[in-house]
Subunit: 380 residues, 2 copies
């Protein structure tokens, strides 16, 4: 298994140091010693979110914490505006619907970023919108949304600003307090480079005020319970957490602190720029608008005449590099290169060597070394 | 941390072999290789549940899977009967309430087991009861419910039979198909002796028929989504699972198969009997009725004049043995000895040595060696 290089938009390759931390003996999750680890991990999470507010850890996937976030702030029948430009924007809407929340869709063409003006227009047209949801990094299309600009706009409205940073936090610029984000959620297995299964959420004071007046129909994902348990001495989670995954996340966050968050984000941006250049050098075409292409995952149009099975099957089975396919209607039409977490020129050199050789294997008229050669130029 | 012996009703001490499996490199959760591990783990789970039905894995705590189970089979407004004789029976009821389900409580005194006749009476009195929930092993009181006898009774009713075996599966007799259990849920960190954070659920054909007519307001915990993804080739989970925790659970289940499920259950029963004898040898008193005392956790009345802090603080800080306290109104009045998972005379010898010395330290008039001496007699 170790031989496959994961170039996915999560899960990402986990550092041996993190795997080692994870395999420490399990302790009582309601003990002082675990309370310290929980406190430390939560504080390190808040540093990465760039917020003065407390962060809460939930055992589950990014989807679990998206649900916790939206169910916390809207009662059934209340209105939220969901910006939908890909699979995860859609998921936010589906979650809202499953809770009986009145979801209003702001549809964005897949591959484009939402225009903040359209959000403004929607909010101006309906004063009953209680919150908006935005996916910062739409993993399915490789598009980054302008969350900073949207944040500026949101300061003029009472509606809460809910942002999914599952596949961006730690890899792209996120500043919860400065951008005025009220509910921010993320997952462990993307840019934080911990194993999957742990999720984190932070809420602003404005959001907590709303939570108090919402009757959540979630139990496991009820933020009121997390707040109550997190306020105990020592702090706890309401239900047994994955102690091992918290060890792992804790170690990952220490690594991020050692690297420096800003350095880490810059490293991701550099990898994204190098990837886009290498894609073009191979004569391939980006799926999203280049100006909004993500810092952590690059979506590429599948070359004409090649199937997903041939392409990704070859990179994986022959060259040991696992790329991601397209999702939903992009299945077969797009492949995606994840460059998140522990990403350097090394992984990109391997990935683009594999992509180049695969295209040649599949009889495309390409210079198989053009991509990887471009990577070396970018990193010189 | 390694120095503390966990004698908790979960999490339990995890075998080095399981920790090692957990720390293998993370693979793509939507790959054939992971599909194989998922299939194998799910099949091994069904063997432990003793069911021909498929088992599903959910990243989360036992509470998460209790919620998945109950939300799957009842619409808001529909009626379920919750047997409540402790904290976890109560939790089932609270979860039902949070989903707007019309919960009818069958209250049982804490420390007693439910009488199947009372269930029969409740079902006869109200034909609208769509399901009943029973906690097999009420961790908070150390009581085992007669799930086999209740199963016999339930065969005469259409209502679904939902059983929480979170702290019993792998340590006490559970036979999903023979007992006619329709929804059975469990957690990884109890008798299965894997780290916390993974939960499992299995549903009967009768239950699945009901699921199709229920509009769950859970998204992350919607069983329809798990069924759909689990039916893919290769099988998947709907949302990113904790790959590492599935490695760990997989290894734990292999260990259970090697030991033999029946041997394992007998080993737990033996530990429970030895524990009860040793408790009495120290002049302490059981909290529950002895005839229904659990196979996996023994609840003991706190001796007069000793606080929980003194008692459990000493066993932990001075002697390195972590016991559990009482929950809710039993806080301070009860302590609990978990004997689940990798339990043998060794752990009990250490635990009862620590308990004996602690009682002496706290100036109780006891023979500090009486408990551990009783353990050796039980295991001779």
């Amino acid at each position: 298994m170790d031989d496959i290089l994961l170039m996915l938009p999560g899960p990402t390759t986990v550092a041996p140091r993190v795997l080692e931390a994870m395999s420490q003996a399990v302790v009582n999750h309601r003990s002082a010693i675990f309370g310290e680890i929980l406190t430390d991990t939560s504080e390190l999470m808040s540093e990465v979110f760039k917020t003065q507010n407390k962060s809460y850890l939930i055992t589950g996937s990014g989807t679990a914490v998206m649900e916790a976030g939206i169910a916390a702030i809207a009662n059934p029948g209340e209105k939220v505006l969901n910006v939908v430009g890909g699979k995860f924007g859609e998921r936010f809407m589906k979650i809202a619907n499953s809770h009986g929340i009145d979801s209003k869709e702001l549809s964005v063409e897949w591959g484009k970023a939402v225009d903040p003006k359209d959000i403004k227009e929607a909010l101006d047209a309906d004063e009953n919108i209680k919150a908006i949801t935005v996916v910062h990094n739409e993993t399915s299309t490789g598009v980054a949304a302008p969350i900073k600009e949207i944040g500026k706009l949101m300061k003029n409205y009472d509606a809460l600003y809910v942002v999914d940073t599952v596949s961006s936090l730690g890899g792209d610029y996120v500043d919860v307090d400065k951008y005025g984000i009220d509910v921010c959620v993320t997952g462990s297995q993307k840019c934080l480079a911990a194993p999957p299964g742990m999720a984190a959420i932070t809420l602003s004071d404005d959001a907590w005020k709303v939570v108090d007046n919402v009757n959540s129909n979630s139990y496991y994902l009820d933020m009121k319970a997390y707040k109550k348990s997190g306020g105990k001495t020592p702090p706890e989670t309401p239900y047994t957490p994955s102690v091992s995954l918290i060890y792992a996340l804790h170690e990952s966050l220490k690594i991020i602190k050692e690297e420096g968050l800003d350095n880490r984000v810059k490293r991701h941006h550099k990898a994204a720029q190098a990837t886009v250049k290498a894609v073009k050098a191979l004569g391939l075409e980006l799926f999203p608008d280049e100006s909004v292409s993500s810092a952590t995952v690059t979506a590429v149009k599948m070359p004409e005449g090649i199937t997903d099975k041939e392409f990704r099957g070859t990179t994986r089975d022959k060259y040991g590099v696992e790329l991601a396919g397209g999702q939903d209607h992009l299945k077969g039409n797009v492949f995606r290169i994840g460059h998140m977490g522990n990403i350097s020129y090394k992984e990109l050199a391997i990935a683009f060597s594999a992509i180049g050789m695969t295209l040649k294997d599949l009889n495309l008229d390409v210079d198989p070394g053009a991509g990887v050669s471009s990577i070396t130029e970018s990193y010189l």
